[in-house]
């Protein structure tokens, strides 16, 4: 809501600067987002009278105007011709300043030569003065505009405008008068409420209301003998400052009255109303209406319409019809100053995608009490500025309700607000906003909110008003104690530990959107029966292409890989933790959907990784080291350690989307948590990621299920241990993990360290053979180990590898 200060001052003037008032309003719940001077910027512009106008010889566009400023005549060459001799127009004589299109760079006007004639400045359109957007011609001012006056002073062009962000509960603040009421309540300044005139006499247009719930009131006033023309300049200026475009003295009057009182108004040309009669009813099947914006609309049977004898002439509260619109020839006007319910206007506005200044106000509850107020303002402006006289009016008020008192328990208010406000102080705050307060039973108060506050329905609504008038800024700060240790769940702690460990190990956390296409999953090569192929679909996705929720985090990560590779970042290692979305199953149900029985998807927490290029970038002393499967497994090992897992086991797997010979299913403490591997070349091609991109996805929910487990540590042996190496010769096809297990089993309980330090293949070993060399450490806290123990251990390892992996020790 844009509030010109001069307009506000008609009702209340607390003697504050615009900025000071902005602070008061913001502190009082009407947040002033900006203080502007939208019509300001013009300096030295003078009201002149056109004394003569003649074509410039040799030009078919330019006119030479003699303009009188009260002292002398100026020759001004002008491109527009919409004025007549005797008209008062704004002239920017040499030395004047116009705001210009860029407000930070005002334009100084000088003399200039056009077609050989010196023009002493220019005549200005409304737009050139920064008033609205009318640039069809020179702005014709009022007949009685004072010749020679400074336009800025005469029209109050430097008037400040407060731009207020009105919250949905404070519909009253969508009016100058409503804002004025709060200014008075917040500052104690006197509020001057204008006199309201009740309608009087038969307007000659019967009004019938079908639905008193949706249309609680209808104040109809008829004004005849009007002459349609432009509004006076001050009124145009105020409308423009408030953000509305001036149209004509009739329409401007209705808009002005709406802005002032908050009650939207529609004006009909009575000559175009069939009957003439008015009926407020819902639309009948098949009815259509061409609205003011020229659109032919099919009406819904839920749409509330204003109809004449022939059919709908307006969408109630939203927009009038084109067929009964005020036009240049209108002489007989009917004002509709009604009251429509928020719900009906909201539904119709949404249904037709029509959101207007009027519908915006109805949607926030306009009280029926404001109808005659608005009608008085509009009718007054029309008779003053368009001539004519009010010939009659009727005020139909079928939806009248007695105001209901709200119970207020002052002690409860004190407890909830934590403020030591006695009953008198609470009563005073409520009376400041216009409540009627009476004593109720047992120290309670019975509070009747003022008509302009239909939002005050509950006791807590009154609490907010009490503390608002008391001042939010005066509320003391106290910090309560929960009386318990706060903290994260073990699961959240573990998730954070995993993320931090991965970042420390060279992985960068990314954050893709969870929206994917079904095709993204198909090109991963997942079988049709794979649960990840059954997606949760969106009704209204941001883009048609990505219309389902991810069932795996891989597409998002691979897109991130591609995004970076396309920007020359080809060495990367990234990860993400977050939910996948899967249709629920008995084994994996979704969260409870609440009493309406909605079925929610399962949201397993996943960890996904992707890497490409070099894991260790080139240095001056070392070539780059390309990422490979062991970096991915290394990441899984980092994850294991971060949650205190005991064992990590990798098993070869040939499942999509991975390279069938370069992927591993990983088990953490024996639990299957997922797969890591090099991507299949087809997947690499489909996602347009660098060759040999690796990826993996783990069930983080399983990994963090028990939180971070604390390691159990044994005291190291105080006695010297044994260190020795063994090299195991086995067939190429024997997995290293099996060899290690055999060595471990042979070395026995005293084994405290086991490191594979070499894998060797060579002709001396024979075709299809490999040698794995391990460094071992044995410790025994009970006794000193000797050469004899070493020999015995090596023999035991030799027997174990022979038995388990058909290997032998190289000696």
């Amino acid at each position: 809501m844009r509030v010109p200060l001069s307009w506000l001052h008609e009702f209340v003037d607390p003697g504050l600067s615009a900025e000071g008032l902005a602070d008061v309003l913001t502190a009082g719940g009407l947040e002033v987002e900006a203080v502007e001077r939208p019509t300001g910027g013009a300096r030295g512009v003078t009201v002149v009278e056109v004394r003569s106008a003649a074509p410039v010889p040799g030009s078919d566009k330019l006119t030479l105007v003699q303009a009188f400023d009260g002292e002398r005549e100026w020759e001004i060459v002008c491109g527009a011709r919409n004025y007549q001799v005797g008209d008062k127009v704004p002239a920017a004589l040499p030395g004047a300043v116009l705001p210009g299109p860029d407000p930070t760079r005002p334009v100084e006007i000088g003399r200039r030569k056009l077609m050989g004639i010196v023009s002493n400045g220019m005549l200005a359109s409304a737009r050139e003065l920064g008033i609205g957007d009318d640039h069809r011609g020179i702005w014709i001012l009022d007949r009685d505009a004072p010749i020679g006056a400074d336009l800025t002073e005469w029209l109050d062009l430097d008037d400040a405008v407060l731009d207020i962000d009105v919250t949905p509960d404070r519909g009253y603040a969508l009016s100058i008068l409503g804002v004025a009421r709060d200014v008075a309540a917040l500052t104690g300044a006197e509020l001057r409420v204008p006199e309201t005139l009740a309608p009087d006499g038969d307007p000659g247009v019967p009004v019938v209301i079908d639905d008193a719930e949706r249309c609680r009131r209808f104040d109809a006033r008829r004004i005849t003998g009007v002459r349609v023309g432009p509004s006076p300049a001050w009124l145009q200026r105020r409308l423009a400052a408030a953000g509305m475009r001036p149209i004509s003295n009739i329409v401007d009057a209705t808009n002005y009255a709406m802005l002032e009182t908050g009650n939207p108004i529609h004006a009909y040309d009575v000559a175009l109303l069939a009957g003439p009669r008015i009926e407020v009813r819902t639309a009948s099947p098949g009815e259509t209406l061409r609205t003011l914006d020229g659109v032919e609309r099919e009406l819904d049977s839920d749409d509330l319409v204003i109809a004449d004898a022939d059919g709908p002439v307006g969408l109630a509260g939203v927009m009038g019809g084109a067929g009964t619109e005020i036009n240049d020839g209108t002489t007989d006007v009917l004002l509709e100053v009604a009251n429509f319910s928020a719900a009906t206007v909201l539904r119709t506005a949404r249904r037709h995608g029509l959101h207007t200044e009027g519908s915006r106000r109805w949607e926030r509850m306009v009280p029926p009490s404001s109808a005659p107020v608005a009608a008085t303002v509009a009718a007054g402006l029309i008779t003053r500025h368009a001539g004519g006289a009010v010939v009659g009016g009727t005020d139909h008020y079928p939806g009248r309700r007695e105001p209901e008192a709200v119970r207020l328990r002052p002690a409860r208010a004190r407890s909830l607000l934590g403020l030591d406000l006695d009953t008198g102080a609470q009563q005073a705050a409520l009376e400041a906003i216009g409540c009627t307060v009476n004593e109720g039973a047992a120290g309670e108060l019975a509070v009747v909110p003022p008509a302009y506050r239909p939002d005050l329905l509950l006791e807590v609504d009154l609490y907010e008003e009490i503390v608002r008038i008391h001042g939010y800024g005066r509320v003391p700060e106290t910090v309560p104690s929960s009386g318990a240790a706060g903290g994260r769940s073990p699961r959240d702690v573990a998730r954070r530990a995993v993320r931090r460990a991965l970042a420390g190990a060279g992985w960068t956390e990314v954050m893709p959107f969870p929206f994917v296409a079904d095709a993204d999953l198909a090109v991963l090569g997942l079988d049709a029966g794979d649960p990840r192929r059954t997606t949760v679909a969106l009704v209204n996705p941001l883009s048609k292409e990505e219309s389902v929720l991810r069932t795996t985090l891989l597409p998002g990560l691979l897109r991130a890989v591609r995004h970076n590779a396309n920007r020359q970042t080809t060495d990367l290692a990234i990860f993400e933790t977050g939910p996948a979305f899967l249709p629920p199953t008995p084994e994996e149900p979704g969260a409870d959907g609440g009493p309406t029985g909605v079925v929610l998807p399962a949201e397993p927490l996943m960890l996904a990784l992707a890497a490409a290029g070099a894991f260790e970038p080139a240095r001056h002393d070392r070539p780059p080291r390309p990422v490979d499967l062991y970096d991915l497994l290394g990441a899984v090992e980092v994850v294991r350690r971060s949650v205190g897992g005991r064992t990590l086991e990798a098993r070869p797997t040939d499942e999509p989307p991975y390279h069938p010979g370069r992927a591993a299913r990983v088990l953490l403490d024996g639990v299957d948590v997922g797969v890591v591997g090099e991507l299949h070349p087809r997947v690499v091609a489909a996602y347009e990621v660098p060759a040999r991109t690796l990826a993996g996805e783990l069930r983080l929910d399983r990994i963090v299920a028990e939180g971070v487990r604390h390691p159990v540590a044994a005291a190291p042996s105080p006695l010297p241990g044994l260190r020795f190496d063994v090299a195991v010769l086995v067939d190429e096809g024997v997995p290293a993990a099996d060899v290690e297990a055999a060595v471990r089993a042979g070395a026995g309980d005293g084994l405290t360290e086991l490191t594979l330090f070499d894998v060797f293949r060579g002709p001396q070993l024979g075709e299809g053979r490999k040698s794995l060399a391990y460094a071992l450490r044995l410790d025994d806290p009970e006794r000193q180990l000797s050469d004899v123990d070493e020999a015995a251990a090596i023999e035991a390892v030799a027997r174990s590898v022979a038995a388990r992996v058909d290997g032998r020790l190289r000696r």
């Binding site: 947040e31 970042a503 941001l542």
Partner: protein, 342 residues
């Protein structure tokens, strides 16, 4: 040993060898030739026992005198040679200390998650428990339980991202389905209250979604944290104090704060907290006393308990912390941006 011990000869030879030593190894050898296991002085010492009493005493004294002289000369020469080694040899071993440091591969945590964690830490310190909930929600939890009016624009397809029914329930006339990507973390408030009796002090972090095209100030997916405290006597002053504590912990103890009325369907009275930042007021937190309708819906008696709730955007705080002006940077996943957080 043959004949008498030539003390002067041994001393002369030893001192000459020590003086001639060019490095620490030669010095060690020269010393060993005199006092080592097979050194001349050691041999003389060994043969002392065979000498007569007075000669033994005399020769012993001579041996000790030579030993002392050799030890002194050796120490002096050692000091010289060590100085020379330090000066020459270590200087030759110098390397360029300005070459790049060798680090483990560089990783980074996402600034949004890190900012969120920092916010959570503050509230955990005030005794709040961190709880989470699903991202796909029923509209009952997301709207109804939170006192959202039936006609509220947030419920429309224009504002929220709806999900097709998983059990083939047809959509309503307006296209909504009763299941959507949660628009706030608030549904977890309702889930928490329905699951446990008061008192409740929880903080809810998480991702939320809106029907918004990404631009500098909007994302369809962003993050919130929400706090909920319900107890027997919590008041509006407790709300203000908690918010102020949180804001000052995040932005600094001297941060200017502004507490003003606002509107949310799920709280009454409602308030926003602004912080003075970079020369203007910045909206930081939305909050209020939990609406009695919400308490009632969640099985609490608003006559018996009262409390407050607040929520804030994580992205805005991350922008302030890191001087970021465009929200899209957070979701483009460009490593040139993210590596700044390594």
């Amino acid at each position: 040993m043959n004949g008498t011990f030539d003390a002067e000869g041994v001393r002369r030879d030893a001192l000459a060898a020590i003086a001639a030593a060019c490095d620490l190894a030669e010095l060690e050898a020269a010393k060993a030739a005199v006092v080592g296991r097979r050194g001349t002085l050691t041999a003389a010492q060994r043969s002392l026992g065979a000498l007569p009493e007075d000669e033994r005493r005399r020769t012993g004294a001579a041996v000790n005198a030579v030993r002392a002289a050799v030890a002194q000369a050796e120490a002096a020469r050692r000091a010289e040679l060590e100085d020379e080694r330090d000066r020459v040899v270590l200087a030759q071993e110098a390397i360029d200390v300005t070459l790049p440091p060798r680090t483990p591969p560089r990783g980074a945590l996402h600034p949004i998650n890190e900012t969120m964690d920092a916010m959570l830490d503050i509230l955990v310190g005030l005794g709040y428990r961190v709880v989470t909930g699903p991202e796909v929600e029923s509209d009952w939890y997301n709207f109804d339980a939170l006192n959202t009016p039936v006609d509220h624009p947030a419920r429309t397809l224009k504002d929220s991202i709806y999900v097709r029914s998983l059990v083939d329930v047809p959509p309503r006339a307006d296209g909504t389905t009763g299941i959507l990507l949660r628009t706030e973390t608030s549904p977890v408030q309702a889930r928490t209250m329905l699951a446990q009796p008061p008192p409740v002090y929880v903080v809810i972090p998480g991702r939320v979604y809106r029907q918004d095209t990404p631009d500098a100030t909007h994302l369809p997916m962003f993050h919130q944290i929400e706090g909920l405290a319900v107890d027997t006597d919590l008041s509006f002053t407790d709300l203000r104090g908690t918010l102020a504590e949180l804001a000052r912990a995040l932005l600094g103890p001297e941060t200017g704060l502004r507490f003003r009325p606002h509107y949310f369907p799920f709280t009454e009275p409602s308030a926003e907290l602004d912080a003075w930042h970079s020369g203007r007021w910045m909206e930081l937190l939305g909050s209020g006393m939990v609406h009695p309708n919400v308490l009632r819906t969640c099985g609490y008696d608003p006559e018996q308990v009262q409390g407050f709730a607040f929520g804030m955007g994580v992205e805005r705080m991350a922008m302030v912390r890191h001087g970021i002006g465009d929200l899209r940077l957070f979701v483009e996943n460009d490593l040139r941006f993210l590596s700044a957080f390594a």
